[in-house]
């Protein structure tokens, strides 16, 4: 028997777990329950598509801003720290 409130609760429940579902971090049983729900609920299915695409966009996102060129004194400080670290390793016999 159709019960809108029961369905709404189910939407609500799976809503909290959709990222974990996308990330493969849910137990098998929970995944199956979500998939069963999605097959019968096109709004939730559409919502999951939008969430999955959001994650894909974040993964392809590269901020537009770039740092200024590395100044010579800053580069020199990094190189000096690197050389000292290597010397310490050599001295400790590694």
């Amino acid at each position: 028997m159709s019960d809108p409130m029961r369905h709404f609760r189910s939407c609500h429940e799976i809503f909290a777990e959709l990222s974990a579902y996308l990330d493969g971090e849910l137990p098998e049983e929970a995944c199956r329950e979500i998939e069963e729900h999605l097959h019968g609920c096109s709004p939730c299915e559409a919502f999951l598509v939008s969430l999955r695409k959001t994650v894909e966009l974040c993964r392809r996102y590269a901020p537009g801003a770039l740092p200024g060129p590395l100044r010579e004194e800053a580069r020199h400080a990094l190189w000096r720290a690197y050389e000292q670290m290597l010397a310490r390793r050599r001295n400790s016999g590694l």
């Binding site: 990330d23 559409a46 969430l51 996102y61 590269a62 901020p63 740092p67 670290m85 590694l94």
Partner: protein
């Protein structure tokens, strides 16, 4: 963003510790821009982000011999960067963390009835693999930038830097459950901004 597989980073870390010629330059090139961009999103100021990137690289080179597992180079570096960002924030105005509730992030139903319809844009035409068009990229950047700090940091580490839940939890000194909860809410908030954009601008 440069190609950056975990395997390539691990190999670069091994070369660096063995003093392989050219490894230093490649390492600086591989991480400096990413550290700057992460820090800019977290700190919000170019000057702070430049300093965090430099301070992080300096600490990395000073302490590289303490990295026991080269395959953990990425989480190790971002933990140092995260701490450097925290120091910067302590020096600037500190805004208390705002919580995002799951309720406020649920899609709005388009009527008050029991009919199962949410207001969702048509995402189907959104390109899967193409480079982000500049306007959409701008919307995404603003959406991430507007997240409260505790959510933004998790999203940047998990989805942009693609660190694991466990690695992110270790970097932030929180439980894996907290990472999962914050990540979900961060994604939902970003999704909502993108959805608003798609509904008003189409694809």
């Amino acid at each position: 963003m440069a190609a950056r597989s975990r395997e390539a980073e691990t190999e670069l870390a091994r070369e660096l510790i063995h003093g392989t010629p050219g490894a230093f330059e490649r390492f600086v090139e591989a991480f400096r821009t990413r550290l700057f961009q992460y820090s800019l999103m977290v700190c919000g100021q170019r000057e702070d982000a430049e300093e965090v990137a430099q301070e992080t690289l300096l600490k990395v080179f000073e302490n590289f011999d303490q990295l026991r597992e080269p395959e953990r180079i990425r989480p190790w570096i971002f933990r140092i960067a995260r701490n450097a960002c925290l120091m910067k924030r302590r020096k600037s105005a500190f805004a208390p963390a705002r919580e995002l509730s799951l309720e406020e992030l649920m899609p709005v139903r388009d009527d008050g009835s029991a009919e199962r319809r949410f207001e969702i844009a048509d995402w189907s035409a959104l390109p899967e693999q193409k480079v982000l068009q500049s306007e959409l990229r701008q919307v995404l950047e603003e959406a991430i930038g507007e997240l409260p700090d505790i959510y933004k940091t998790v999203l940047l580490l998990r989805d942009v830097e693609e660190l694991s839940t466990q690695e992110t939890a270790e970097i932030l000194d929180v439980s894996e459950d907290v990472v999962k909860t914050r990540l979900h809410r961060a994604r939902l908030a970003v999704r909502r901004k993108l959805d608003e954009y798609l509904r008003t601008h189409g694809n």
